[in-house]
Symmetry: C2
Subunit: 200 residues, 2 copies
DNA sequence: TTACAAACCAAGCGCTTGCTTGGTATCGTT
DNA sequence: AACGATACCAAGCAAGCGCTTGGTTTGTAA
């Protein structure tokens, strides 16, 4: 586990994955990703964790609360990770590569399943909670937009920055459905290919 | 309506949108896109068309059959359209632009809702039917890959072609969640921005 | 005018869903 | 030893789900 993740657990923003609640969230992320939120029943989830379906509601008030918790915790995790990655890089080009590499890491690393749920189960939340999540994502998106804008001003890009970010959101998220880590192509190779989309 | 669409109707590959079955498919595409397949009930769909829920099953054997029909018909439509678009363009660069422009047209034109369902409700099908759809998509994907490969050989691209196609699949599909036709940016502008991702 | 198929209704069946309830086992702390 | 908090079970309820059934209306063509 990363040091950043550890401090998020201690600050209470992220649930310890060893705790009963944490195991529930992990299994829920797995099921929501593979079967989809609606097709996953509380009985499926309970069986995966090894408890009765009713016992789930000792930890969460509703099934939607579970989805919301997955999303909220994932945002905290990836934002902290992204901040560190962008700060560690220096040239505009390196910073852009760090954005891409870090997002791919979130999509294919240990947060993989939760990340997929965050992106593709969006519509399963009530509108009010969609708005909450959108607000939480803001800091993360500002990291992207600010970094891309600096790269543009230094002459590395000649495209519309918000449009580029949205293209990259789609392109990188979609990799979860076709890219398999551990094959011929490493995550670094993939990041290099993606960097070519953005920078000439 | 396009001439291509007309001939598809006459050949029986696509349902006439004026027929009861066609209206059902159109409303289903609308609901499946906005609410998602699982969250749309046969009662919702029946109410949208103005019939009783049981009457749906005079036209389709199961709810899944409706989803499958939407996807299959959409593939026929967009493949015919794409063939025509690629043939009409001549230089490698124009052909790549035609691919992008035509896919954006499918995503934001009259097939918009069905197209979104095709891309994002994939997992709602049984595995057997996922395989059927995959096979139907093959011709469409070969159009993409063949054209991109020609562009690469003529020196317009210097990336891995299958990877580029997948990045573009994600980037272009995702536009459905943020791009609104009729605003500042035209579909042609959007296509130009997307072309910059592929070609330096 | 009759015949027939396509399109639809009214009613409801069997099952699954998210969630509730009332009670119990297992802890560390006092 | 007693306590309260945490984590859980066993049973089941009310609502909603996809789909079926038997019968009726509507359009079309002989």
């Amino acid at each position: 586990m990363q040091a950043t993740t550890q401090s998020l657990i201690e600050s209470g923003q992220v649930t310890d994955p060893e705790s009963p609640r944490g195991r529930l969230l992990a299994q829920a992320a797995h099921l929501f990703k593979t079967k989809g939120y609606e097709r996953t029943t509380v009985r499926d989830l309970a069986a995966a964790v090894g408890i009765q379906s009713g016992s789930i509601f000792h930890h969460f008030r509703t099934k939607e609360d579970i989805l919301f918790a997955i999303m909220a915790e994932t945002i905290h995790t990836i934002t902290a990770r992204m901040k560190a990655a962008v700060e560690a890089a220096h040239s505009p080009r390196d910073k852009v590569r760090a954005l891409i590499r870090c997002e791919l890491e979130s999509i294919h690393g240990e947060t993989s399943e939760a990340m997929t749920v965050l992106v593709y189960e969006w519509r399963s939340l009530s509108e009010a909670r969609q708005a909450e999540i959108l607000k939480m994502r803001d800091e993360y998106e500002q990291l992207w937009l600010g970094t891309l804008e600096s790269a543009r001003q230094s002459g590395q890009l000649d495209v519309n920055v918000p449009v580029l970010r949205r293209f990259l959101t789609g392109a990188l998220s979609w990799t979860v459905f076709w890219y398999k880590p551990g094959g011929d192509m490493s995550l670094d190779d993939l990041a290099d290919q993606a960097l070519k989309l953005a920078i000439k």
